[in-house]
Amino acid sequence: MGFVDWVSRLDRRWIFLTMGLLVLGPLLHPLALPIHVTPPVRGFVTAVDAVPKGSTVLMSCDYDPASIPEMVPMTRTAFRHLMSRDCHVVVTCLWAGGAGLVDSIITEVAREFPGKTYGVDWVNLGYKAGNEAVMVVLGQGISNAFPRDYWGHDVKSLPMMSSVRDYSSFPLLVNISAGYPGTKEWVQQVQGRFHLKMVAGVTAVSAPEYYPYLQSGQLQGLLGGMAGAAEYEVARGEKGSATRGMDGQSLGHLFVALCIIMGNVVARVQKKKER
């Protein structure tokens, strides 16, 4: 049996095992492959840095636990970035499965800032059903859409919210999104309509859809998948879970590329044999 026959009859479970080992190995013994900060990520960092200290920023975290590896590192770094700039952060979530997850992440990061208090420096408004309708209603007043926060407090009773009316209260919208409703809808309903500056962190699978928004200036910066999250961590001088995962990511990609090349070679040789 030649190499071509061996490859064509290879049990796909060997491919799963190889991929697993290639991803697992660098987590135990990191290779420290270089990570360079690309212009879309630099745009994200610059846009957040450009927000005047003490401003109130809207951060919508639209994802659920299925996208933890990509979305959570972005949320952590972005929230930490905003808090370190003394910004007040209003957090919302348009995915029902994500509200608890998002709350646990921002609470964990907020603990790194002992002087910051809930209701004064950040507010988690939690989940609201309605997708685009929620975005439109937020434009008529934040408390119209979210009369109560994630913990059931009356939103108007929270000190930070006394100066927050609608989108005009925010100099920037930070959206971390895994799909619908997410970045596309925020651009269509809010950025386009209310001319609010916006940056986004998205899953890799959806990232190609959002590059046109970046090129047209509708987005000031874009984090695409785990690579984007890792670049953001590097730009901020952090070593989070995305940075640690990138070695395995790179080896995994090399293996997929190798499989594609081998698959094409085998298919071509077999076609020739059939002739």
């Binding site: 479970r13 799963f16 991929m19 697993g20 991803v23 697992l24 987590l27 135990l28 299925a66 933890i68 590896p69 990509e70 029902a96 499965g97 509200a99 939690g126 989940y127 609201k128 059903a129 309605g130 685009e132 309708a133 439109v136 008529q140 007043g141 408390s143 119209n144 009369p147 109560r148 994630y150 059931g152 596309k184 809808e185 651009v187 269509q188 309903q189 386009g192 309509r193 899953t203 890799a204 699978v205 990232a207 190609p208 046109p212 090129q215 047209s216 200036g217 509708q218 695409g224 998948g225 785990m226 690579a227 879970s241 640690r244 995962g245 395995g248 990511q249 995994g252 990609h253 997929v256």
Partner: protein, 230 residues
């Protein structure tokens, strides 16, 4: 290595391994984890929706309205509404919500169409205007760029490539004439640009899927088995 003492982490680790076991072959442990996930997700979403939407946006404001108050303290009266404080008028959307459930009773199921018509109408309006503003106009505007910028060769090459790619890709989807001659050449060039786009999309999809695997491995290694993050 410091094994986790958290029962929740052990349950999550076991369920992760059950799901991974499908890679070898389908088995009862995988089925168990799959069914558990569907059931827990459905229950969680229902409870979440009740407490964050029905309770906070309907039940509590209606309760306040019954007492003649609302979120605007200066107004008194069950129907003294203004924007953002709809008081007893919230009965109307509540009725529309209840109408959706008439689908469960065949004799009056037609009534659910009234609520559905409202939902479809509102969302069609919101989506259309949003698309026109956010996508159509802004993207056409973004596509109009100078092809040549003196002293910036990289920008010029990028702008020319972008414009050629945009026009030829659009021509590929022009089906009113047979793709022969100049149109044939242009559409073939367009196919190449589309292929590059699909390739980039595939690469990003691979990255997303590998990220999920990395996330699970990080959980197993760092959170469950307690290997120090390196």
């Amino acid at each position: 290595m410091h094994l986790s003492h958290d029962l929740g982490v052990w349950v999550a680790a076991a369920l992760t391994l059950f799901i991974f076991s499908f890679l070898y072959k389908d088995n009862p442990l995988y089925k168990f984890a799959e069914h558990l996930f569907v059931g827990v997700s459905a229950g969680y979403l229902m409870i979440q929706s009740y407490w964050t939407v029905i309770d906070s946006n309907l039940v509590r404001p209606l309760g306040q309205a019954a007492r003649g108050t609302g979120s605007h303290a200066e107004l008194h009266g069950a129907f003294a509404a203004q924007q953002g404080d709809y008081r007893a008028w919230l009965i109307i959307p509540a009725i529309f919500g209840v109408l959706l459930f008439t689908r469960l009773i065949p004799r009056i199921s037609w009534m659910s169409r009234i609520a559905l018509a409202l939902i479809i109408g509102v969302y069609a309006g919101i989506k259309t205007t949003g698309f026109a503003q956010g996508d159509f106009v802004a993207q056409v505007q973004g596509s109009l760029q100078p092809l040549w910028k003196a002293g910036d060769l990289l920008y010029s090459v990028n702008a020319i490539l972008f414009t050629v790619g945009l026009i030829t890709s659009l021509l590929f989807f022009f089906f009113s004439r047979e793709h022969k001659g100049a149109l044939g050449v242009a559409s073939r060039v367009g196919v190449w640009f589309l292929m590059v786009g699909f390739g980039a999309g595939y690469g990003y999809t691979v990255m997303s899927r590998i990220s999920l695997l990395i996330g699970r491995f990080q959980f197993l290694l760092e959170t469950w088995l307690g290997f120090a993050a390196r």
